[in-house]
C-alpha cells in the first residue's frame, strides 16, 4: 500500500517529440537552407554579402577621402614641395597597410559572426 502513490507522481505525459531531438534538427536549419539554395538560404548569403560590401565600401571611402584631395592640395600650394615629397614618397604607405589590416580584421569578424549565426551557436 505504500508504493502506488509514488508511482502516479512519476508518470510522464508525452506531448511531443523529445526536446533533445528537436534542438538537434533546429541546429542544422540555416545550414540546410543555404545548402539546398532555398529562398531563405539566399537571404542568409545576401546578408553576408551586404555586410562584407559595406566593410569594403567603408574602407574604400576612407581611402578616397585620404588620397582624393591630395592632388588639389598640392596644386593649391605649389611652394610646398617638401610636403609633397614627404607625403607621396614616405607618408602614405603606412596608412595603406593599416587600412588593409583594419579591413581584414573586420571581414574576418563578419565571417565568424555569420558562421555562428548559421550554425546557431
Amino acid at each position: 500500500m505504500t508504493v502506488p502513490q509514488d508511482h502516479t507522481e512519476r508518470r510522464v505525459v508525452v506531448t511531443g517529440p523529445p526536446r533533445q531531438a528537436r534542438r538537434a534538427s533546429g541546429y542544422y536549419r540555416p545550414r540546410t537552407e543555404i545548402d539546398e539554395q532555398t529562398t531563405l538560404g539566399h537571404t542568409y548569403v545576401r546578408s553576408l554579402m551586404r555586410t562584407q560590401l559595406r566593410a569594403a565600401l567603408t574602407v574604400f571611402a576612407v581611402l578616397g577621402l585620404l588620397v582624393g584631395p591630395l592632388p588639389l592640395l598640392f596644386a593649391a600650394m605649389p611652394d610646398a614641395r617638401r610636403l609633397e615629397w614627404a607625403v607621396l614618397g614616405f607618408g602614405l604607405y603606412l596608412p595603406l597597410v593599416l587600412l588593409a589590416r583594419w579591413y581584414v580584421r573586420r571581414a574576418e569578424r563578419n565571417e565568424r559572426d555569420f558562421v555562428r549565426l548559421v550554425e546557431d551557436r
Binding site: 614618397g89 597597410v97 588593409a100
Partner: protein, 571 residues
C-alpha cells in the same frame, strides 16, 4: 660605367634564378603543381612571391628616373601601384580565391557560364600580358646597353630565354620560389646602395636643394647631348657650347640663350656653370622606361594626376600576373592575409626609389638632357661614391634590375601561357603548357626587336588603363552584383577596355598633336573609360534580364561563404 663587376653580377642573378627554378622543378610533379603550385603556398612565401613578381623594371628603374625628370608629382606612380593592392583586397581577393578558378577567363566562365565571355576575357589577358612584357624586355636591353654597351636586343633575348626555360621547366611551383627569392634580392639591391648613398650625401654636408624646382647643377658640369633635343627655357641661361645650337655651330663659345625653345644637335657639348638651372628637355619618342605620356602632364596636370590615380588604383586587380597568384593561396582567408603582407612588402620597397630620385636630382641632374634618366639608379653609386666600392654597389643594383625584369616577365609569361594552353592549344597536358610558354614569349620578343625605336614604355600605362576599364568592372560586378549577364559583361569589356586601348594607341601614333584639348583626354583615358566600362556593363545587363545565368545564386554563395561552411557542402 665600369662593367667588370656588373656583368658577373647580372650573370650571377641569371644563374641563381635558373638554380632556384631547378630546385622547384624537383618538387613540381603534377599538373596542379604546374598551374597553381597545388594551392599550398602559405601567406608569407606567397606574399614575397607576389611582391617579387609585381616590382617590375618600371618600379626598380623607372620611378627614380621619372622623379628625377619631373619631380615629386611622379611619386603618384608607386603610391598607385601600392594602393591598387588595397582596392584588390577590398573587393576581389577572398571571393576570387573562393571562386576556385585558375585564370581570369576561368573566373568569367565560372561566374557567367558563357564560352563567349571566356574567350573575350582570354583575349584581353593575352593582350594586356603582351603589352606588359614588351617594356620588360626593352628595359633589359637598356640596362645591358648602359652597363656594357651591348646591342639593344641582347638583354631582351637573355631575359626571354631564361624566363621561358624556368617557366616551361617548373611551372608555378618553381616560379613561386624564384619570385620570392627575387623580392628579397631586389630589396637588398636597392636598400644597401641607398644606405651608402645617404651616408655619402651626409658626408657631403647633406645639401637639401633636391626639393627645389627646377633642379640645379651643384658644380660646373659638362654634358654631352647624344640625341638631338629641344630645350625649353623658362629663364635665360648662360652655357658654354661646343657643337650646334639652333642651327649655328660654336666651339667653346659662351652663349646667353634667351627664354624659349632651343634646338640642340646630337653630339653637342654643353658646359653648365655651378648653380645653373637644369633646363627641361623635350624629346620625341625615346626608348626609355618612363611613360612618355607623362610629358603631356604639363598641359593638364590635375586631370592627368587623377587619371593616373584611377588607372593604377583600379587597374592592379586586372593584371593577369597579379590575379593568377591568388589561386595559389590555400583559402580565402589566407588570400586576404597574403594581400596585407604584400602591401607591407611593396610599401617598404617603394620607400627607396624616391631616395634615388632625390639624390639623382642633386648629383646627376644632367641625365634629363642625355636621354636616359632611367639609368639614374644604375649610375648613382659610381657618381657619388666611385672607386671599387661604387663599382661593387653599381653591380649590386644592376643585378637587382635584372632580377626585376626576370621576375615580372616570368609571372606574365606564366599567366599568358596558362591562357594559351587552356583556350587556344588543343589539350591541357604539361607538354602543351611548355609550347604555350614559348608562344607567350616569342610574340613580345619579336615585337620588341621589331619596334625597338617606338615609345613602347607607354605600354605599362596602357596596360593599367585597359585593365582598369575592362577587368575591374568584370571582377567587381561579377563578385558583388547578381544581375550581371553575359552580354552585359562582354559589352562592358569591349566598350571600356576597347576604348581605352584605342585612345592610348591614338596617342602613341601621334594623334592629335600636342597641346590639343583632346590630347590629355586620350593620353589618360582611365578617367572616362572606367566609368564607361562600368556603365555599359550595368546598362546592357539591365536590358537583358532574361540572360542572368540560372546558377548565379549558387555561384555567389560559393564566392562569399567562408570555407568552413562550404567544405561540408561539397564533401
Amino acid at each position: 660605367m665600369n662593367s667588370s663587376y656588373a656583368v658577373p653580377a647580372v650573370a650571377l642573378v641569371v644563374v641563381a634564378t635558373v638554380l632556384v627554378g631547378a630546385f622547384g622543378l624537383r618538387i613540381s610533379r603534377t599538373t596542379s603543381d604546374f598551374y597553381v603550385a597545388s594551392r599550398t603556398v602559405g601567406p608569407r612565401l606567397n606574399a614575397a612571391a607576389i611582391s617579387g613578381e609585381y616590382l617590375s623594371a618600371a618600379s626598380f628603374l623607372g620611378i627614380a628616373g621619372l622623379v628625377l625628370v619631373q619631380g615629386p608629382d611622379m611619386l603618384w606612380y608607386p603610391v598607385g601601384y601600392t594602393a591598387g593592392y588595397l582596392v584588390l583586397l577590398l573587393f576581389v581577393a577572398a571571393p576570387l580565391r573562393r571562386s576556385g578558378a585558375y585564370t581570369l577567363p576561368d573566373f568569367a566562365e565560372a561566374r557567367l557560364a558563357s564560352q563567349a565571355v571566356r574567350r573575350l576575357a582570354g583575349a584581353f589577358v593575352v593582350g594586356v600580358g603582351w603589352l606588359y612584357l614588351l617594356p620588360q624586355l626593352q628595359g633589359a636591353g637598356l640596362t645591358l646597353t648602359v652597363l656594357t654597351g651591348a646591342p639593344d636586343w641582347l638583354g631582351g633575348v637573355i631575359v626571354a630565354v631564361v624566363v621561358t626555360a624556368t617557366v616551361a621547366a617548373g611551372g608555378m611551383r618553381s616560379i613561386t620560389f624564384v619570385q620570392a627569392f627575387q623580392y628579397w634580392l631586389k630589396l637588398t639591391a636597392l636598400l644597401v646602395p641607398a644606405l651608402f648613398l645617404v651616408l655619402a650625401w651626409q658626408s657631403d654636408g647633406a645639401p637639401r636643394h633636391a626639393f627645389d624646382e627646377p633642379a640645379t647643377f651643384r658644380e660646373q658640369r659638362v654634358v654631352r647631348v647624344d640625341d638631338s633635343v629641344d630645350l625649353k627655357l623658362e629663364r635665360p641661361l648662360t652655357v658654354t657650347v661646343t657643337g650646334t645650337v639652333d642651327g649655328r655651330t660654336h666651339t667653346g663659345t659662351r652663349l646667353d640663350l634667351p627664354a624659349g625653345t632651343h634646338h640642340i644637335e646630337g653630339g653637342t657639348r654643353l658646359t653648365f656653370a655651378r648653380g645653373a638651372a637644369v633646363p627641361e628637355a623635350e624629346r620625341s619618342g625615346g626608348g626609355d622606361l618612363s611613360p612618355s605620356q607623362a610629358e603631356s602632364r604639363a598641359e593638364r596636370p590635375l586631370y592627368a594626376t587623377y587619371g593616373l590615380i584611377l588607372a593604377t588604383f583600379l587597374g592592379t586587380m586586372g593584371l593577369p600576373h597579379v590575379v593568377v597568384r591568388f589561386y595559389t593561396s590555400p583559402h580565402g582567408v589566407a588570400a586576404r592575409r597574403t594581400t596585407v603582407a604584400v602591401l607591407g612588402l611593396i610599401g617598404a620597397f617603394y620607400l627607396l626609389p624616391p631616395v634615388y630620385g632625390a639624390l639623382g636630382r642633386l648629383y646627376a641632374p644632367e641625365l634629363t638632357l642625355t636621354g636616359d634618366p632611367d639609368a639614374a639608379v644604375l649610375l648613382l653609386p659610381d657618381r657619388m661614391i666611385g672607386g671599387v666600392g661604387g663599382d661593387l654597389l653599381g653591380a649590386l643594383v644592376a643585378g637587382g634590375a635584372f632580377a626585376a625584369f626576370l621576375s615580372t616577365a616570368s609571372g606574365l609569361t606564366m599567366a599568358v601561357a596558362g591562357v594559351l594552353t587552356q583556350d587556344v592549344l588543343p589539350s591541357r597536358g604539361v607538354r602543351h603548357f611548355r609550347l604555350g610558354t614559348v608562344l607567350a614569349m616569342v610574340v613580345p620578343l619579336a615585337a620588341s626587336v621589331l619596334v625597338g625605336g617606338l615609345p613602347v614604355a607607354d605600354a605599362v600605362g596602357l596596360a593599367f588603363a585597359v585593365s582598369a576599364s575592362s577587368f575591374c568592372p568584370l571582377l567587381v560586378l561579377g563578385i558583388w552584383w547578381r544581375r550581371l549577364t553575359p552580354p552585359g559583361a562582354a559589352a562592358g569589356m569591349l566598350v571600356g577596355g576597347g576604348s581605352a586601348l584605342l585612345a592610348v594607341a591614338a596617342t602613341m601614333a601621334g594623334y592629335p598633336g600636342r597641346g590639343a584639348a583632346l590630347h590629355a583626354l586620350l593620353a589618360w583615358p582611365a578617367l572616362w573609360s572606367v566609368p564607361l566600362g562600368f556603365l555599359t556593363m550595368i546598362l546592357v545587363s539591365l536590358a537583358t534580364p532574361g540572360r542572368v545565368p540560372p546558377g548565379t545564386a549558387g555561384v555567389l554563395a560559393r564566392f562569399h561563404l567562408p570555407e568552413e561552411l562550404r567544405t561540408e557542402v561539397t564533401a
